[in-house]
């Protein structure tokens, strides 16, 4: 035992020592305002900017002390520091003065102004008078594509951008060039930043070098934005967002920190996917009639719908992109037998199995930190970058854990980023990836296994067999398969924190069954439960599985058998769910189609269209991929008639003398009591009667301007703020905004005195990088099971035929973000069929520009794309691309030249 004191001293005050952490983190955590630039909680310390200088004293007698960088100084017991002394204050002020020798004085026209860490730090250090009387260096800016703007003159060379982009996110096309005070952070030449995480540069950059381009194109100062806590609707991860609105438009989306989900970072799909909300083509009023649609007053539209429902036999189709409340309202209004889940039988089976795994299988449901902290991982079938991008970023960090371990052994602190990387070199924690095509993490993996979904499932079963001999091995498994599986099993067994990743990417039940087999076998072999992360496609995929209901295939049978009088489709484009022919037949057998949606009405002609609110215009709940139920709160009150789908349905119910309540809380309660599994949704966020200091929580910051003038061109009277019966937030600026200990889901703005930039989050965390002081937002509903009595599924037999597999793309596969013009520039080229060159050769297609793809009920002619990285038995089709229709995957298909080519 060392006899060092268990405390450190900062300006005469004792605080607990922790030699594993650095002084900057500890000081920030303790509430000291110690300025910094190059340090970032996820990027560690490198000691470059010299901003967090403090004085360290050798002992009680030492009165001079010496300047050290807090970020590079461990909090050893007995250490004595001063932040208040003159020499460290002078140093910190001078570092700002140095930075300001080249930083332009363009704050009034800079997009970062008011949201700028450099402004905050400048104020904090007290630098106010310019002594530098010489010229500033200037740079040429680059066009970095549609998402991120570049203004290099503002650069203070903190190196965060390249450390984030290259070291953390694995990007290759952002570099630092040049030397001395001409260091340049940019690309080798103008061009789109390739990383789908490039948008985080906007928040990583402490000043206005990298700014949000679409936001800049329609700019509003941060303090003029109306904000509310939101949740991303563009995949099932459920990253927490902080959208900002003004003049009825979402202006930008910033990351809203969540320790267990997204940490400090978003993917660009989540950050820039909001544009569909601002789409001028969106329906703003109810429309009736097919060919000659005419606008209806909301009251008339509701009466129409009520009348049709009253006629009887109205059927509802829910959606995995609609909230729990909207799905539940439809089900409650029409009755459980009249409610369908909005997905095909195949997809529902996948969703149900995913739910069963996370609820009952002997696993621990992995959070963001569990993924990042795993020391070995097996990925079955998932191309995470394109299916659940934020998880890819997390899994990428997982490979660094071996390096952290080596650092600990060498007595190098794990936050000392440069040295950890030096010690690690190319050594990484074991990652095994089995997918049909190449993935972004292949280069980080021990090795990767290229196979079609059944082959991936066979590998999974072989791993299960190697873990637990009672698990059935795949029939006629080749030696290579079995030996690779053995290596994976040995690695998982030796690991302290093993992780299993799978999901819907292959659209294959076999892959999910194999995932279950690995989890069970691991539990039976060790008595421990490994961490499981499942990548699921839509914001509420798990939520709709929890609500249950029959499948679209059953709906089609019902339509075939008896026809449908009124079909109410809730936030669901059925063209993405069903093959064209099946959908056509369903609609032919349907008398009246009612659509409740927020997308432009290019969906099948509706007899009645009710304009729905998007996640930014209504409040509701999603269950994310890990079974966490989260509330998204309406950011703003839209100008048209669009309202939450559940709200339309509540009002319809009233006309039918049914009571679904008239606010969200009533519906949430009803939903929770109907579905015990969802009971946690009541605690997901404060109820509408929650008050702080007797007042609602204001969505508008205390500096919000123009309130009395914004609508003056229409009405010189100040308009009454809209009432919000569904949340504890108000559409005003009155009330308390910055109580740090309040529930995180009640924080509309991460702001703290002297901290105007997103870095104010430090003030809201219980520890740096830890949960919010008020706890993590949302409630986890699924915790895995202890039940390991389930049977192992039979491994699929070896197959030789061609099978269609989905090829996902981060930009283009998801329905809503696909409508963002900025993201479309980054998206897929369009529909095509991908084949391995050998397969194309074998089929005599190698030189065909177009090929015909045929399966029962399916015939498509598509351009051929040769992909050497694709498994030879897989026929790759882009997932989610418009015009291909649903039900495409997992089919045995034949391919031939087009009839024209044959002729």
């Amino acid at each position: 035992m060392s006899d060092k004191p268990a405390y450190i001293v900062i300006d005469g005050t004792k605080h607990p020592a922790d030699p594993s952490r650095n002084l900057l983190e500890i000081a920030l955590e303790l509430g000291y305002d110690l300025p910094y630039f190059c340090w970032h909680p996820e990027l560690g310390s490198v000691g470059a900017c010299r901003q967090c200088a403090v004085t360290q004293y050798a002992d009680d007698q030492d009165e001079r002390g010496r300047i050290v960088m807090a970020c590079m100084t461990p909090c050893q017991g007995g250490a004595r520091f001063s932040l208040d002394d003159a020499q460290s204050a002078e140093m910190r002020r001078s570092v700002i003065e140095f930075l300001m020798t080249n930083h332009p004085h363009d704050c009034p026209v800079c997009e970062e102004g008011g949201n700028c860490h450099l402004q905050d730090m400048t104020q904090m250090t007290g630098h106010s008078y310019r002594r530098y009387r010489h010229t500033k260096r200037t740079h040429r800016n680059q066009d970095l594509g549609p998402l991120v703007a570049h203004e290099m003159n503002r650069c203070i060379a903190c190196y965060r951008c390249v450390r984030y982009y290259r070291d953390y996110a694995g990007g290759h096309d952002l570099e630092v060039f040049g030397a001395h005070n001409h260091v340049y952070f940019g690309r080798a030449q103008d061009g789109i930043l390739e990383s789908p995480f490039a948008g985080n540069l906007v928040e990583v950059c402490p000043t206005g070098v990298f700014t949000d381009k679409p936001y800049g194109d329609s700019y509003t100062r941060k303090w003029d934005l109306q904000q509310a806590p939101s949740v991303c609707a563009h995949c099932a991860v459920g990253c927490n967002l902080m959208p900002g609105e003004r003049y009825g438009r979402i202006k930008r989306v910033e990351n809203r920190y969540h320790e267990a989900i997204n940490g400090y970072f978003l993917c660009d799909r989540g950050r820039y996917g909001y544009a569909y909300t601002n789409d001028p083509q969106r329906p703003r009023h109810a429309l009736s009639g097919r060919a000659e649609a005419k606008a209806l007053e909301p009251r008339a539209a509701l009466q129409q719908l009520a009348d049709w429902i009253a006629e009887g036999d109205a059927i509802g189709v829910g959606s995995p992109r609609a909230s729990l409340e909207s799905n539940h309202a439809l089900r409650a209004l029409l009755g459980a037998e009249q409610f369908y889940r909005g997905e095909s039988r195949g997809t529902c089976a996948l969703d149900d199995l995913a739910l069963e795994l996370l609820r009952d299988a002997p696993v621990q449901v992995a959070t963001l930190r569990d993924i990042e902290n795993a020391d070995s991982a097996l990925v079955l079938g998932e191309d995470l970058l394109n299916t659940a991008p934020r998880l890819e970023l997390a899994l990428r960090q997982m490979t660094r854990n071996l390096g952290f371990e080596l650092a600990r052994q060498a007595h190098v602190p794990t936050w000392q980023d440069q040295s950890v990387r030096l010690l690690a070199q190319q050594q990484r924690s074991a990652l095994f990836i089995a997918t049909p095509a190449t993935t972004s993490l292949d280069a980080m993996a021990q090795w990767h296994w290229r196979s079609h979904p059944d082959g991936i499932a066979r590998l999974g079963h072989a791993v299960a067999h190697a873990l637990d001999p009672a698990a059935p091995p795949p029939a006629s498994g080749q030696r290579e398969l079995m030996s690779r599986a053995g290596e994976i099993a040995d690695t998982l067994l030796a690991a302290k924190r093993p992780l299993l990743v799978s999901g819907h990417a292959c659209q294959s039940l076999a892959v999910l069954h194999a995932t279950a087999a690995v989890a069970r076998a691991y539990h039976r072999a060790t008595g421990r439960r490994l961490h499981l992360a499942l990548a699921l496609p839509e914001a509420n995929t798990l939520g709709t599985a929890m609500l249950g209901g029959a499948t679209l295939d059953e709906l089609c049978h019902r339509a075939d058998a008896a026809g449908i009088r009124t079909l109410i489709v809730l936030e669901n484009d059925l063209r993405r769910r069903l093959p064209d022919a099946q959908l056509r037949q369903l609609l032919e057998r349907t008398e009246r189609l009612v659509v409740i949606d927020h997308l432009p009405p290019d969906t099948p002609d509706a007899d009645l269209l009710l304009p729905a609110a998007t996640v930014f215009e209504a409040t509701g709940s999603f269950v994310n991929h890990a079974g966490r139920v989260q509330r998204f709160v309406q950011t703003f009150s839209p100008e048209g008639d669009q309202r939450a789908s559940w709200c339309w349905l509540q009002h319809t119910a009233r006309l039918l003398d049914r009571d679904l309540g008239l606010d969200l809380d009533a519906l949430t309660k009803d939903c929770a009591s109907t579905h015990p599994l969802l009971s946690g949704m009541l605690q997901a966020a404060p109820a509408a009667d929650f008050r702080l200091g007797g007042a609602r929580i204001p969505r508008q910051p205390h500096r919000y301007s123009g309130r009395t003038a914004m609508q003056a061109h229409r009405d010189i009277h100040e308009i009454q703020p809209t009432k919000d019966p569904d949340s504890a937030f108000s559409f005003s600026m009155e009330g308390v905004t910055t109580t740090m200990d309040k529930p995180a889901s009640a924080v509309p703005l991460v702001w703290f005195p002297r901290w105007n930039s997103p870095q104010a989050i430090n003030k809201f965390q219980s520890e740096i990088g830890g949960p919010w002081r008020g706890g993590n937002p949302g409630i986890p509903l699924l915790h895995g099971g202890t039940d390991d009595h389930g049977d192992y599924a039979e491994p699929p037999a070896p197959s030789s035929g061609l099978q269609t597999v989905p090829l996902w793309h981060v930009f283009g596969s998801e329905e809503l973000s696909n409508r963002s013009p900025a993201l479309r520039e980054r998206g897929l080229a369009g529909a095509c069929v991908a084949l391995h060159p050998d397969t194309a050769d074998r089929l005599g297609l190698a030189s065909e520009p177009l090929v015909q793809l045929e399966a029962p009920h399916l015939s498509l002619i598509l351009p051929l794309q040769l992909r050497a990285d694709l498994d030879p038995q897989s026929v790759g089709l882009p997932a989610g691309v418009e015009g291909l229709g649903g039900g495409l995957f997992g089919l045995a298909v034949t391919l031939r030249p087009t009839p024209e080519a044959q002729a």
Binding site: R50, S94, H180, L422
Partner: protein
Amino acid sequence: MSQKFSPPDKPLTDRIRPDHAPFDVAEYERAGGYQALRKALRTMGPEEVIGMVKDAGLRGRGGAGFPTGVKWGMVPHGADAPAQKYLIANGDEMEPGTFKDRLLLEGDPHQFIEGMVIAAYAIGASVGYLFLRGEYVLAAQRCQQAIAEARQRGLLGRNIKGTGFDFELHLHTSAGRYICGEETALINSLEGKRAVPRAKPPFPTVAGLFGRPTVVNNVETICNVPHIIQFGVDWYKNLSRTANGGTKLYGVSGKVTHPGAWELPMGTTAREIIEGHAGGLRAGLRLRGFLPGGASTDFLTAEHLDTPMDYDAIAQAGSRMGTGTIIVLDDQTSLVGALRNLEHFFAQESCGWCTPCRDGLPWTEKLLAEIEAGRGQPGDLELLAQQTRLLGPGRTFCAHAPGAMEPVQSALKHFRAELDALIPDTAPAASRKVGS
């Protein structure tokens, strides 16, 4: 077969011909070369070699003066040590006014190679690099030639002279950054990365090139090694006039009669070097001050001329021995011009990693340029003095900026009156730009 050679007084330059044409391997061996290599590899254990170098008191000749044997001893040894270790010779001689390593490499490349093999043997390195300043084209050619000859003779490569010791030596010519003289920046550069210093710990002796234990020694340091092995500790210590052992390559540049470099006993006084070997200042010029160890050391003045040039005495006088190559400043050359020129160099050679160095040095340079141009303002010298503190040791990531500020801080100390005289009493208000 070992022929006895009498110990030389000037071992480093003993075999350098007046015209600097180097010995080839045969000539070098005939002149007693590679005897130390044979002795070390055949008759001594690595620890014995390290012990001798420690006992001889050899200190790093690159500027910092760190005891070489101690550095070697910090490399992990034994069964648990990493199998791959590296030895790097720092020949990136970019310190203004310094040209000693060039003389050694151009004049006697085999001496350097022999030192490398022995040093590598001592630390257990199987691969070595000569990191050579890119402009040293002749040195590169001669080293390349010598390496080829040595390899052909079995003095490099696998199983050197049948001893079972393997050592491969590669020449790397630098792309040309002063910061590569900093050993961790050098290693980054050698790895193909930006030449930015690394954080320590871990030190290169534990995790250096490609994360493996690595020793970086100056070329001159390496060249001392064969002689210590061959002629012994006592002989080596007796070469010196002071407690710091051996000889030293001293040089003088500036307006002296005979600029050049000479191997002299460690501890020779500055006066002997400047007035004796360099022939004193040119006619009509008087000594104003001198930088004793290259551009990044503090000025000393005429009163320090009798200081012995060794690590400890120069430090006591308020400067650093550095590379031991003196830059003389005469009374006719502009002091502020010389300072501006030096700071221009250092500002340009800042790697751009840390703020005070990257942005503080250009400011320093610009202030000096303003003063030189007669546009100094009251307060400028105080600002310069503050910069010397803000860019001082501990404030910056590495020693580049503190070194760069040494001439400025010592000029403010020794020549304050001259500098004060350059500042006009009042600055014209119109020329003050605020908020530009």
